[in-house]
């Protein structure tokens, strides 16, 4: 076999030998193309499968766990929620605008494919510090791409996170999460059921864009790959909007037995997976596939990742109704194939057979057997923010921190996203968790999407566990109960033992947290090969948690008024990510504290509540004070801490709460024996005062906070 072709397909020579061995013949070129796509890390999870199978995935609330296009959980007796997070890191590194835009488009398709209307999105973004020109180029492009696609397609982007660290210079991370809502009866899966059923293609015509996208994402980003802009797809949110409406109408009318979007590896993965899950076969006639340009070859059609395309399997006799709905939305309709009993995928143009291979072979690649072993020579990279702040430097250090793009305002980003569409968004982005009201019910859905790459690079087990705990803490601060999570596991090269060590430790950490928090994993995505020629990223598992519940009062994350007692719930220790004593997590304590805090909120015992996590108490205070210009007078004695070192401690399982003084006894009684209540001061109008140390106007804090990104872009 031509080694140039193997290289082009990113197919390992050992895999090629294995294919020949299993097929007992030399594969045809299209067959080889299918193997290259389906055996790519991106489609096959060949390095991660055995770890993922250990994940905590069960719970009464789970309707559909990992394996479908997105996970599904119960909201009420008649409605479900579906959600998932996905990465689009490699495309965004090469072409940030289209990379991010099509990332959003892809995750939205995963949601409406399940029969759900997408109602809210969040993004987790990681870049190098914005003082680098490349970082600004990437950040600007990614934000514009998300804004362009999300706003037009009509899915509000209601929050997320943006982090900066030099390890993301070559490989930025762009992870997008979307939540959808569906009536129970509309849930659809991607499992073919009936031989003879027609396979219908809808949406955009197939072009050469995104060729080899799956294999592109399954290798280290070297110079050669960076030149491969052709591997990046181009998005059309208007077409996707039509697809959403048409698909939901088709599902509402009960016209399909299975449906899947064409994501990575396009027609190949959608047809192979739907037929494969039903243990059936599929026959595709390539002449019927709508094409954007003449001369496109069979292998190109099969591997194209042109966007905004869906593949569905019609209920028999319903084809004309489907065609009618597509006509109404001015979308292409093409019957491109049929479900068969052969167990094989057969691909034809006219009478010419380009491919005939057993589907189960495509779905069963040899596993990556790299052992997870820690390489002590790999040093962790940590930034050098001071952890012990001399009293006289308190003000300077605190102000400097909130001007830092990692901790300051992200309004420059959020203002470019439509966050209020559907009129259910409870708070504007920027406070940590986001929350939407489900119209027509008393139900609220909280969303938290976050990571702690730096902590995971020091200790991937503790880091992953902490990320899950923080997500649940943020959901709790809304008064809601954690329901389930989705994860996007961003790691380096899986053929390296150290990467697999980081990966397996992270999985263990997640499991140990989630099984206590009762938040199973219902969907997710693994992104390996996040390495450039010079650098590898922090191991960055991103957790997207949703929580649900009904609420008696509007959740209040920030100080609503002056005259309230302000206190820290939980023990503050000298724990800082930059030192030897990193913040550790006691997950049982975390859970117990969450349950009490939730009760406080639901019983209106406290007036505001926000989780203390990244950036410590100081960052929680900034978020609490700025929205209504209600400040704080701190009269606490800091004892073994300096004020700054107390405010910047990142100890876990803590909340900042404010409450009327007559509720103090009740709060103390409930917390007794579980978590200490550390009263720090009283809320006041317009100022932030630490008795004898500093006195600042809230407007000054706001000004510093506001500049964190605008200083680079305006």
């Amino acid at each position: 076999m031509n080694s140039q072709l193997l290289k082009e397909l990113n197919l390992d020579p050992h895999d090629y030998q294995e294919i020949v061995r299993r097929l007992k013949k030399e594969p045809k070129i299209v067959e080889l193309g299918l193997f290259s796509a389906m055996w790519s890390e991106h489609c096959s999870y060949r390095s991660s499968k055995k770890y993922l199978s250990q994940l905590y995935t069960k719970g009464d609330q789970v309707i559909e766990g990992p394996g479908e296009n997105a996970g599904v959980v119960k909201l009420t007796d008649s409605q479900y929620l579906t959600f998932k997070v996905e990465s689009h890191n490699h495309p965004s590194a090469v072409e940030p605008f289209q990379g991010a835009a099509t990332g959003v488009g892809g995750i939205i398709r995963d949601i409406f494919t399940m029969g759900a209307r997408p109602i809210a999105g969040m993004d987790s973004l990681h870049f190098d510090y914005p003082n680098s020109a490349r970082s600004r180029f990437l950040l600007n492009g990614v934000v514009e791409g998300i804004s362009f696609y999300g706003n037009c397609v009509g899915v509000p982007t209601i929050g997320g996170e943006t982090h900066f660290a030099s390890c993301y210079d070559e490989n930025p991370l762009v992870n997008a999460m979307v939540v959808g809502i569906l009536d129970k009866a509309n849930l659809r899966r991607s499992i073919a059921k009936t031989p003879g059923a027609k396979v219908i293609y809808l949406g955009a015509k197939t072009g050469r864009d995104g060729l080899h996208g799956a294999s592109f994402a399954s290798g280290v980003l070297d110079e050669d790959r960076k030149q491969r802009k052709g591997s990046v797809q181009v998005g059309d949110p208007f077409l996707e909007k039509l697809l959403i409406e048409a698909t939901l109408e088709i599902i509402q009318e009960d016209l399909v037995e299975a449906i899947q979007d064409m994501g990575a590896a396009g027609i190949t993965s959608s047809s192979v997976e739907m037929a494969g899950k039903g243990e059936l076969g599929i026959r595709i006639d390539l002449d019927k596939v709508p094409r954007r340009e003449p001369g496109i070859t069979p292998i190109e059609i099969m591997l194209s990742e042109s966007q905004e395309r869906m593949l569905l399997i019609a209920k028999q006799g319903k084809e004309s109704q489907i065609k009618e709905i597509l006509g109404k939305w001015e979308l292409d309709y093409a019957e491109i194939g049929i479900i068969t009993e052969t167990g094989c995928i057969e691909i034809f143009t006219g009478e010419t057979c380009h491919c005939n291979v057993p589907i189960q072979l495509l779905l069963d690649p040899p596993e990556n057997t790299t052992k997870p072993i820690r390489n002590p020579r790999i040093k962790t990279l940590v930034s050098n923010v001071p952890n012990c702040v001399p009293v006289e430097q308190t003000e300077a250090v605190l102000l400097q921190q909130i001007k830092n793009p990692n901790f300051g305002s992200k309004h420059w980003i959020h203002d470019q996203y439509d966050s209020t569409l559907f009129a259910g968004t409870v708070e504007k982005p920027g406070l940590g968790p986001s929350c939407i009201h489900i119209h027509g019910t008393d139900q609220y859905v909280g969303m938290a999407l976050l990571s702690r790459g730096e902590l995971c690079s020091i200790d991937p087990y503790e880091g992953a566990k902490t990320v899950c705990a923080i997500a649940a803490r943020r959901i709790t601060s809304l008064g809601l109960t954690p329901t389930a999570i989705t994860n996007c596991l961003n790691f380096g090269d899986p053929t390296q033992e150290h990467t697999m060590w980081e990966f397996s430790e992270s999985i263990k950490g997640m499991n140990d947290a989630l099984s206590v928090l009762k938040a199973p994993v219902v969907s997710g995505n693994v992104s390996f090969y996040n390495e450039g020629e010079k650098q590898r990223i922090y191991p960055t598992p991103v957790i997207g948690m949703i929580g649900t519940g009904s609420l008696p009062n509007k959740p209040t994350l920030y100080f609503p008024q002056s005259g309230l007692i302000c206190a820290v719930v939980g023990k503050t220790k000298k724990e800082y990510i930059q030192t030897d004593s990193i913040p550790r997590i006691d997950i049982l304590l975390e859970k117990k504290t969450q349950d009490i805090i939730r009760q406080f909120i639901l019983e209106s015992t406290i007036s505001s509540c926000i989780s203390i996590d990244r950036g410590g108490l100081w960052y929680a205070l900034v978020k609490s004070m700025l929205p209504k210009h209600i400040g704080l007078h701190i009269y606490k004695i800091f004892q073994e801490f300096t004020p700054g070192s107390y405010l910047l401690s990142e100890s876990n399982s803590r909340y900042l709460i404010a409450f009327p003084s007559d509720h103090l006894d009740r709060i103390q009684n409930h917390l007794h024996g579980i978590a200490p209540l550390d009263i720090i001061g009283k809320t006041i109008e317009n100022r932030f005062i630490i008795e004898g140390v500093m006195d600042l106007a809230i407007s000054t804090i706001k000004e510093w906070h506001h500049q964190s990104l605008t200083q680079y872009f305006e």
Binding site: C152, P237, Q416, T420, K428, K554
Partner: protein, 223 residues
């Protein structure tokens, strides 16, 4: 029984919110009007926001040539109340039902935030329930909301009291801080901010409620 039509173009995405506003605030039936319909038998018409026809060419440009807009023109000329929100406003200016045009924001970026507005006319069916000079907060979410018109058009708007809403702090470069206007007859109103997203204090502001209540009392008095 009263009915309010909500026009749906391919790419409209605030249609569900407009329908919900009509049904929950006005307690009136909302009737979807498809872009290819050419008749209207409702008591008022809402052109909702979104990206009709993907904003191809210019926002609102293609929608203005749709069959339903020919019907809306006739409907408006007969005095029917019509409101265009965001992309709906853009469609109204492209259709010639309202003067002026909406250009790209001076920041060149999409702007999504809550803005404070001054109500400057309560002479329209949609603003009767507000006091002139009253401040209200609605969200904005647009990239092309920069209202511009030639000097004589602005003068006419001012003389006829056709400016309905003004921004307290101009976010997008609009001439004379204009956020919303009416036609001379006052039955057609267009605005960039989203009153249909401001219906509950739980979702930050309920300042949009009087707009739909105004329409309801207008319809009850006139139909």
């Amino acid at each position: 029984m009263l009915k309010v039509g909500v026009v749906i173009f391919p790419g409209s995405n605030c249609d569900l919110d407009a329908i919900r506003a009509v049904e929950t605030v006005m307690n009136v039936k909302a009737v979807p009007l498809w872009h290819q319909d050419n008749t209207i038998d409702t008591d008022a018409v809402i052109l909702p926001g979104g990206f009709s026809y993907g904003d191809y060419l210019r926002p609102g440009a293609i929608a203005s040539h749709s069959p339903i807009m020919q019907a809306v023109k006739i409907y408006a000329s007969n005095g029917g109340p019509v409101i265009g929100i965001c992309n709906g406003f853009q469609i109204l200016t492209e259709s010639g039902l309202l003067p002026g045009t909406l250009l790209r924001n001076t920041t060149t970026r999409f702007i999504s935030r809550d803005v404070s507005l001054l109500v400057t006319s309560n002479q329209t069916p949609f603003t009767k329930g507000f006091a002139v000079g009253q401040k209200v907060t609605f969200p904005i979410a647009h990239k092309d909301g920069n209202y511009q018109a030639d000097p004589s058009t602005l003068q006419t708007l001012q003389e006829n009291n056709q400016i309905v809403f003004q921004y307290v702090e101009n976010p997008n470069g609009s001439l004379h801080d204009i956020a919303g206007i009416s036609n001379k007859e006052r039955n057609v109103v267009g605005l960039m901010p989203h009153p249909e997203r401001a219906l509950s204090d739980w979702t930050r502001t309920s300042d949009g409620v009087p707009l739909f209540q105004s329409l309801l009392s207008h319809l009850e008095a006139h139909v």
